[in-house]
Amino acid sequence: MRTIIFYIFLATCGIALGGVSAWYSIRHVHGFAAIDIGVWTAYPFAAADEIDPYTVARSVAEGTVPLGVSEGLAFETQTDDNGNVLSTDCDYDLEGTTPPSRLWTLVAYDEQGYPLKAAPGGSSSKYSGSVIRYPDGSFLISISARPKPGNWLSLVSGQTFRLVLRLYDTSITSNTDLLVPEMPAIRRLECRS
């Protein structure tokens, strides 16, 4: 009798371990096909025949439709350049350039995958066509719950968020290694607790 209970216990442990690891890998581990540029991660092959099962399971579990290869590529990050989780209680500077594309959009999402609420007068998303740039084509976007001059990505404080930068009609998926794609840096400024 004791051995039977012991076996059932082992089996339960095994199944629980498998379940937890499956859930964890879908939520947190990026698929085999992910590419990283700094803190930004993209899944250029989320839309191809050689898609890996983790990426499939992920898009099914999250109910998303990935961008197709000829539509564009979405880069996302949950942390700033120092690895701290992005929080609306902090101010950030997003500065630099994006890889070449016809247009891009930058959107802050909550954990459910919906765009964050913006403070009055602002917007929690930016479109490349309305971004003010430096003469060399680079840009600075201030991410803050309080109004900022220049490009202001407005948030309402009190939660963590995720930034998604989508490059539409980009050549990055077909480029060779001659061109190392550059993504903007995310620097944390002051935080309010």
Binding site: L10, A11, C13, G14, I15, L17, G18, G19, S21, A22, W23, S25, I26, A46, A47, A48, I51, P53, Y54, V56, A57, S59, V60, A61, E62, G63, T64, V65, P66, L67, G68, V69, S70, E71, G72, R102, L103, T105, V107, Y109, Q112, G113, Y114, P115, S125, Y127, G129, S130, V164, R166, Y168, D169
Partner: protein, 196 residues
């Protein structure tokens, strides 16, 4: 005693690995929250529908607020799909997605012929019919051969602010998404059957 524990530990790990792989592979089969399941509830096959936000939220998560979306669900088991739209200057893109939520084919306004959405989606059997009949559409449309029967086309049109909404809306309203059955084109005279 020691070996016994290692043995039990190994058995547990093997079972964990099997469960892990089974869950990952079965999610696409049994998942109910995927994009296709969500869209199937709201759409009829071969009817284009512009997606409208409910309380500022689209039914799909992770949507881009600078784009307007439309969807056309299809079922290729009996007939193909022809999807057409007018020419506009705004950036748009279209994706064919299968039932598992994987992108099968995609194009954007620059890669489309003459910047117009003109696409015919067929399965491998229907492609054979097309080759045989040579209908006139093959010369002007993008023909997409898929191995899937069910799926949907998701159309995205750039509309960065309200002033663009009306042109995006006009474009989405003008999309036709219809069943497609090839009709034979005009053949050269020497192929016309005698007596007909």
């Amino acid at each position: 005693m020691m070996w016994r524990f290692i043995y039990y530990g190994a058995c547990t790990l093997v079972l964990a690995a099997i469960t892990h792989i089974a869950i990952i592979l079965l999610i696409p089969v049994y998942g109910t929250q995927d994009a296709f399941a969500i869209l199937s509830k709201n759409t009829e096959p071969f009817q284009f529908k512009a997606m409208t936000a409910v309380n500022g939220r689209l039914p799909l998560s992770d949507f881009d607020p600078f784009f307007s979306y439309g969807v056309c669900r299809f079922d290729l088991s009996e007939q193909g799909l022809a999807i057409n739209g007018p020419k506009i200057d705004t950036f748009w893109s279209a994706t064919i997605v299968n039932e598992a939520g994987t992108v099968v084919y995609s194009l954007n306004s620059r890669t489309a012929i003459d910047q117009k959405l003109d696409m015919i989606v067929l399965n491998s059997t229907q492609i054979l019919r097309i080759r045989e009949l040579q209908p006139p559409e093959v010369e002007s449309s993008i023909i997409v051969e898929t191995e899937i029967n069910g799926g949907f086309v998701l159309l995205r049109v750039l509309s960065p602010d309200e002033s663009w909404d009306s042109s995006a809306r006009r474009f989405l309203d003008a999309i036709s998404c219809e069943p497609y059955l090839p009709v034979a084109g005009q053949r050269p005279p020497n192929e016309v059957q005698p007596g007909s």
